[in-house]
Symmetry: D2
Subunit: 265 residues, 4 copies
């Protein structure tokens, strides 16, 4: 399917501030970015770099005054979330070097404290993709989706107690549980079609049988109708807009639509 997504940000900036935007989806097995557009006003220099996680980041010094940043993209993505129920979990010694990093606890994913819970949840599930599915299902079934019950500093450990949160919290808990049983896991942020209300979304990926698979603990029937924007250890790594100074965000608007299959870029 072909998805059109946009993100529009408007700021009022009282004094020059350094900002990093991370809103550049990349083509890969799961998505083909057919078109990307970026508009900034006023036009100031933009420096791109690739971070530790392979995300394309844009450094911009926002001048005093109004600042407009908007992006549009069109992507060709599969209709279904890829899944291979029989893909086997790997032992640590089988993992490639650049995946080891995703076994470690991180700011919002205290996997070092969740070993007992994770072991209890997986129970006797076969040591494959279903292991992670059982963790995902547990999070989905035991955490209530309630806006306003968590904030930007809420961590997976707190969510095990409060039992409520938003997509970001669902993802953090799923990641922490995976790492607790030595399955590499990472945070994903992106666009998903059909969210109510529309917003950016967070989910997670687990490394199984030699590759990454997507899991979404928030949605009831997660599909492939999504565009990945960025990867990281947890939310600390994937802030889509980081402004290092005072600012007012006056607009943040996200749209996601399905385009006809016959569309060109």
């Amino acid at each position: 399917m072909i998805i059109d997504a946009t993100c529009c940000l408007e700021y009022v900036i009282p004094v020059e501030v350094h900002a990093i935007f991370m809103l550049r989806p990349r083509s890969g097995w799961g998505q083909w970015i057919m078109r990307e557009e970026f508009n900034i006003k006023p036009r100031v220099p933009v420096i791109e770099y690739t971070d530790f996680y392979g995300n394309l980041c844009q450094r911009i010094v926002l001048p005093k005054g109004s600042f407009h940043y908007s992006m549009k993209c069109r992507a060709w993505v599969p209709a279904e979330l890829d899944s291979q129920p029989l893909a086997l979990l790997q032992t640590v010694k089988q993992l490639p070097v650049d995946v080891l990093h995703y076994l470690l606890p991180s700011r919002y994913c205290q996997s070092d404290k969740l070993g007992d819970l994770a072991t209890y949840i997986v129970g006797n599930a076969p040591s494959n993709h279903q292991h992670v599915t059982s963790l995902r299902n547990w999070v989905h079934d035991n955490i209530a989706y309630e806006r306003g019950t968590s904030n930007s500093s809420t961590s997976a450990l707190e969510t095990t107690t409060t039992r409520r949160g938003v997509c970001r919290d669902f993802a953090h808990l799923g990641i922490a549980l995976c790492r607790a049983i030595k399955v590499p896991a990472r945070m994903v942020v992106g666009f998903v079609h059909g969210l109510e209300p529309m917003d950016l979304h967070a989910w997670f990926e687990a490394y199984i049988g030699g590759r990454w698979f997507s899991f979404d603990a928030t949605e009831d029937h997660p599909g492939g109708n999504r565009i990945v924007i960025a990867y990281g250890r947890d939310a600390a790594d994937v802030a889509l807009a980081s402004l290092f100074g005072p600012f007012t965000c006056t607009t943040m608007q996200v749209t996601v639509a399905i385009a006809p299959e016959t569309e060109e870029a």
Copy 2:
């Protein structure tokens, strides 16, 4: 100024062939990529990766039959080539680690054999940006631009003898002369407005006073009317389309136009 560029490639593929395309310009100090579009037919998976030089590359397995690849981009670029005549050359010990690589000889730039020529050319030029300007001017003045006098295996050393070539040969010789006097230099390929006939273009950059500066030894009056697509040690690193198997390229078309300043992405 705002530049619109396109590149369209059509192939006939007799048997499945693995290909790498390197046609993704990146935003940086010298250019802001406002829009990018990619069309491929048939639609097959595209895997992107970043190579040693920071270029975004696309791996595609081209199926048997016709294959269409086209890209369009719109970029906001300066009108003039950036120049700082007083920027000082650096000694090797001042160079950052990731620039050292660009001091070494490479396939088409046998800098190890051009020390005498380079030293002769720079003569008493002050040890700054003008050093490289004098090398660029010598290449421009002493090499004749003649299509069909060189090919894909022609190297800078041969060009010092034949004294003729195309943009790629001018760039290789400029690079080799820079490295011969221990100035890091790298190959650039991209779009330039106003070429006759229109085609992709090659020029070079030299590292002076802590940053890269552009030099174009081919054109009489090089301006900033250009979009960088890729960087490398020499042409071996920046082939914009590498097909590892038999193929026929039936179309290769490049266009570069200037858009009104008021345009959005």
Copy 3:
């Protein structure tokens, strides 16, 4: 000064276990590694790789039975901790790309929650190296060094409440306070001469005026008598021995001695 350090680890391994050791100091401005020795028994393959932070890591599959790992090194290091009181703090826009990562909160350093405390501590200190010195001094003066009051999951936030801990906790709090005021900071583990009792040590570095400076919030009079083994965002990144499975560590012995200046490697 010349320092000789050793670390000896003995394990009993019930079933084959994958392990990662991070005990390879590297030469740099602050230290010259003159000699390194590694002994493992039994001899099994060791694969080295460089992690995200530049640490040299060794992957080893430990077979069932007894396993011995020991390392010795001799390093030439400065007698004093390097300090430049007038080095200026940088704004985020001045920071190089690979340092930005060290502004983010991490598992044990919840800098996102410590902005008020950090701002209170630095008060009117001039915006330079002394900013960080005031943070380091506050940690040193307000946290009591008490073994057994913290464990491997204790974070900086908890330490602000308990007001006690060990070197690792002092370092985490120093790091979190730095990041809270947008000064990049990272964890360091290594050998220090003169510790009582002898053990591995943790301290931190802050990025000031374009380079990293060392700060040790634990010791009363920190000197340069130390060898850096590894860097990371916090303790999660710099575990010197990670065993991914059951094991018993029967010996862990660290020695640090000063050698005569006239010694060769």
Copy 4:
């Protein structure tokens, strides 16, 4: 087997000169570095970094006067060169991203000009490890080992004509032939026991069936009695000592000895 190797370099330096040494072997599947020692006189700062190819490099500013650099290492290595005659060649689409680089022509390996020769040599050899063995054997049988017949700018293309050279030329030709038939190949420099006269040695590796295999086109009966020091595209990347300025090398001495198996580090 356990090998002890040393390399001692003595220089007379007329004016301060920047130097890069690349004499740090690394542990991996084929070798376990048990001990390393480095002595420099006078003692000046040494900065280590990892280059594009994973080599550990040391930057040193050599002061005016005499400069001594020596290294010793002890390594545990297999007695035989590893070989798997049935390991299959891979198509380009199967190659990992970081290996693609080794398909490109380079300064001394003009693989773009050797397709016909390489195809002729391999003839009907099965499309596996024996493909490369046939290339290695052809080089070994058709090139005469003669000191003084080549120099530091001699390339593989020239060697196909002169039919003589030293280990470096044998390696370059082997590499160029591999790449010409789309087998990734890289240069290796290191120590080998039993050379007459003793010196550093060069050979090559080819990527077959998902990993690198060693080939030595120079020696009649190459064994595993060797320590890899550095990898690169060709000799341009693996100069073990690069001095960027005037110098006199008064001593260069290499020793390689076999130690008793019972030795510790």
